[in-house]
């Protein structure tokens, strides 16, 4: 078990290292340079060169990368080329915001999605199953900006029940922040609901059809016990994997939602950094998401192994 996790952690570190190199090289391929991005296309080339020199982006690429990665490993994310101030507060704030939004979306979608899947499976091929399956599929395929704008128009512009912008006032308490996060989390709910419900449904169908369920029923166990003890435990395994993989999306891939709701998440931070070729911000942002993703996957693996002893045993053998 321990060696299993040690191996998984080492693999994650190698992946993150390779990711940092790929992001750096990818950033170099993008046209233009930092000085040009800051001063604009119509700036004098002498001014652009002077700015690049001040920022240190005219140094050899290897030097730039090595300096940055060495500092990152020691806990220093560097200084933003664009904002000319330390990167860490930007990344930490943005990550915190993204996690808050992701948490609200998760708290809404995970239980309701699983419940939807379970109810659908228990009502297989009945109208309720079709409503949940087809309804979930329909809302999942709708892009977030479409559902986002529709929700804003209904709840923000017409009814004026919820704030359009997710940026809460300064010093806002927990409940105020929650209030501001309801509207932006709804499009995420709609995107993920169908996905999670579908996985839960298929897991349930498989589990309900399995030998151990049949055995449990034949043993005369009450139906509720069969579902809770035998079916759900096995049915949720693939769902947990799906939820873990969606963590990366919820933390790092919400550029559209963040733009639409003016939310200062890490997705838009990375997007801005990529456009401005702000390498320290870009690298730090992406690597931070990479770390979150790696940790989420490790937690999923852990949960999986707790729920499924075969994995534990397999790893120890």
């Amino acid at each position: 078990m321990l060696s299993f996790f040690a191996r998984r952690i080492s693999l994650s570190l190698v992946t993150l290292f390779l990711l940092s190199i790929m992001v750096f090289l990818g950033g170099q391929v993008l046209p233009g340079n930092v000085g040009r991005a800051i001063l604009g296309p119509f700036a004098d080339q002498r001014a652009v060169d002077a700015l690049n020199h001040t920022l240190g982006v005219d140094r050899p690429l290897l030097t730039q990368y090595a300096t940055w990665i060495w500092n990152f490993v020691r806990g220093d994310m560097g200084t933003s080329y664009i904002f000319r101030s330390p990167v860490a507060p930007f990344v930490i704030d943005a990550l915190g915001n993204s996690m808050k939004l992701a948490a609200v979306a998760f708290v809404l979608v995970v239980p309701i999605g699983i419940l939807g899947g379970v109810v659908a499976a228990l009502n297989l091929n009945r109208p309720l199953d079709r409503i949940i399956s087809l309804g979930g599929l329909s809302v999942t395929v709708l892009p977030e900006f479409v559902t986002g704008i529709i929700l804003i128009l209904i709840f923000g512009v017409w009814l004026r029940w919820l704030p359009i912008s997710a940026a809460w006032p300064k010093d806002a308490g927990f409940f105020t922040q929650l209030y501001y996060l309801i509207l932006p989390s709804l499009p995420l709910f709609l995107v993920l609901f169908g996905y999670i419900a579908r996985m839960a449904r298929s897991g349930m169908i498989e589990a309900l059809d399995s030998d151990y369920t049949r055995t449990a029923v034949l043993k005369g166990l009450p139906w509720r016990t069969v579902i809770w003890r035998h079916v759900l435990r096995n049915a949720l395994l693939p769902t947990i994997t799906v939820i873990a993989t969606q963590t990366g999306y919820l933390i790092g891939g919400l550029v559209v939602i963040e733009t639409l709701f003016r939310y200062q998440g890490i997705g838009s931070l990375i997007f801005t950094a990529a456009r401005g070729k702000d390498f320290p911000m870009l690298e730090s942002g992406i690597l931070t998401i990479g770390i979150v993703y790696a940790v989420a996957t490790l937690i999923a693996d852990f949960l999986y192994s707790v729920l499924n002893p075969r994995i534990r045993l397999g790893s120890d053998q």
Binding site: R36, G40, P41, A47, L51, F83, I164, S165
Partner: protein, 554 residues
């Protein structure tokens, strides 16, 4: 109204020959009242004096500004784009950043919505006889927010900082060939002279709000503007949070009339759609700059007012004069003749634009020669030109451009129109980074493409448009247009101090460019600002500045 020659004579006695020539032009009817006021302001004549002269010349005086309609003491909430970089007067280059900067810091003069230059930190200015030295008299008793008095040393340091190539100055492209570091000289504490590289009849615009970096800040500035936001403006910084927003409070020590609002709040958005929703949802009062296509829904929204300024912002369609298939000017003219400019204005721009005539001389400029005929769609003539140039069978060519504002839609319209004269246009629409590239020849789709569309912002005078994209040695000459006659005419226009001389040269330039057509200027679009009903006294400029000191809310 009759002319009062006695008063006119009295005024004329104390004026320079150049100023008197302008006054004569007004009295004789050679110069319109509107052009007189614009050009008079450029020469440094005060607005009350200009009003007095127009009244004495038998015309109505200056238009009075509408009085504030709502209550003072409000908090005005503005939606604006996210500043693209740190707020620094030297490097700032984008609308989101410059609107924040302009709330706290001021210019020597301000280019108003009618292109009339209005005094701000400078009370008056005037050129020498040749236009090589411009002398600015500074306002006395102006205090920085940090406490010190604004004097000539601060002006010299602020402008020198921008003209120094070592400083990463975004204004360097404005001052190159015009004003060098060290050429701004203090005469006394309240007088500054600008010694120019060459005569320049429009120089005051280069140190006005037209050059958004040219705010006057303390001489001691060391490059850490976000720690102080020091300036002389009617508002002081309250709080600035990068990427999020900024708020300002009234400066009670302001040299002029105190601001009416207690506070203003700027909220930064990365996209215009959320701005529109925020205005409709009552979370902001103003959208600083609203692109017409994105904001179509607001144009007819009864709860929204649109402030529409005639600007000269435009999209330049360049045709490479040194490459096939555009070497022959007849082919270039044929393409220009295939465009339906009325449809561009009415359809693409929803009437919020003026037709272009393939030169930078927009209808809004007082020096534009309006007697030059407007080019209109003429497919038959375009086909004849294609035949004459040996391109009757047509050809295939790529139009490279950027995904910005209405440019992709404009490109599609051009694609349809040139099909009628046998040209098959392939569109290559890139993001802005990909289009501009390194923005130097050989490393830029913008400057290297055989045909492209590039966005150009507003300028109060056409100098920059005449030089950089069109002169043989122009740094933005994407058309690779090299014409000695044009270069001479452009230099002559830039040097001219007299409006009528400018207009005469403008006419020649306009005719030459119609003949050569290296760049197609299809339309000049209006600058739109949206405000919630009940918000009054808001004064935007087409350079994306937003003056809020007279703003009120119902």
């Amino acid at each position: 109204m009759s002319k009062n020659y006695r008063i006119l004579d009295l005024i004329r006695r104390s004026r320079s020959p150049l100023e008197n020539h302008l006054i004569d032009g007004l009295v004789d009817g050679r110069v319109s009242r509107r052009d007189f006021i614009r050009h008079g302001s450029l020469l440094g004549l005060s607005l009350p004096l200009l009003g007095g002269i127009t009244t004495a010349a038998g015309l109505s005086g200056m238009p009075s500004l509408a009085r504030a309609a709502g209550a003072a003491g409000a908090t005005i909430r503005v939606a604006s784009s996210v500043p693209a970089a740190a707020i620094d007067p030297v490097t700032i280059a984008d609308a989101g950043g410059l609107v924040v900067l302009q709330q706290v810091a001021e210019f020597l003069c301000v280019d108003g919505p009618d292109l009339v230059l209005k005094p701000a930190l400078a009370e008056s200015w005037k050129p020498n006889d040749t236009g090589t030295v411009w002398t600015f008299k500074l306002r006395k008793g102006v205090k920085f927010h940090s406490g010190g008095e604004m004097k000539a040393d601060d002006v010299v340091a602020s402008i020198d900082r921008l003209a120094d190539p070592a400083n990463s100055s975004n204004a360097l492209s404005v001052f190159t060939g015009i004003l060098q570091k060290g050429a701004t000289k203090k005469v006394d504490d309240y007088t500054v002279e600008f010694h120019l590289d060459a005569p320049n009849g429009n120089f005051p615009y280069m140190v006005s709000s037209d050059n958004y970096n040219a705010v006057i800040i303390p001489a001691s500035y060391k490059g850490d503007y976000e720690t102080s936001f020091d300036g002389t403006g009617p508002f002081k910084i309250e709080k600035y949070t990068a990427k999020v927003g900024a708020s300002f409070v009234r400066n009670d020590n302001y040299w002029g009339e105190k601001a009416l609002p207690d506070r203003s709040e700027f909220t930064f958005f990365t996209d215009v759609q959320p701005m529109i929703l925020a205005l409709q949802g009552g979370q902001v009062d103003i959208i600083n700059q609203m692109p017409v296509l994105a904001g179509v829904a607001l144009l007819s929204d009864p709860s929204v007012d649109i402030i529409s300024l005639k600007s000269v912002a435009h999209q330049q369609l360049h045709l490479r004069c040194d490459s096939d298939p555009f070497k022959d000017p007849r082919v270039r003219r044929a393409i220009a003749l295939s465009l339906d400019r009325d449809k561009l204005v009415a359809g693409l721009m929803k009437g919020r634009a003026s037709p272009g005539n393939d030169s930078p001389f927009a209808p809004a400029y007082p020096s534009t020669d309006t007697s030059v005929p407007q080019r209109k769609q003429d497919i038959a003539q375009a086909k004849q030109l294609m035949e004459a140039a040996g391109a009757g069978k047509g050809f295939k060519v790529t139009l490279t451009t950027e995904r910005y504002l209405e440019i992709p839609e404009y490109a599609q319209l051009i694609q349809n129109w040139v099909k009628e004269i046998g040209i098959e246009l392939e569109l290559n629409i890139l993001d802005q980074g990909g289009y501009y590239g390194d923005a130097v020849f050989g490393k830029s789709n913008w400057l290297d493409s055989v045909m492209g569309i590039t966005d150009y912002g507003h300028r109060g005078v056409p100098n920059v448009f005449l030089a950089a994209p069109l002169k043989s040695d122009g740094t933005w000459n994407a058309a690779h247009f090299k014409n000695k006659d044009y270069d001479t005419l452009a230099n002559s226009y830039i040097a001219a101090l007299d409006l009528e001389a400018q207009k005469a040269t403008a006419g020649k330039i306009q005719n030459l460019l119609l003949e050569e057509t290296p760049v197609i200027f299809g339309y000049f679009y209006d600058y739109l600002t949206a405000t919630a009903k009940g918000v009054a006294g808001v004064q935007p400029t087409a350079m994306s500045q937003l003056f809020l000191e007279k703003a009120t809310k119902a």
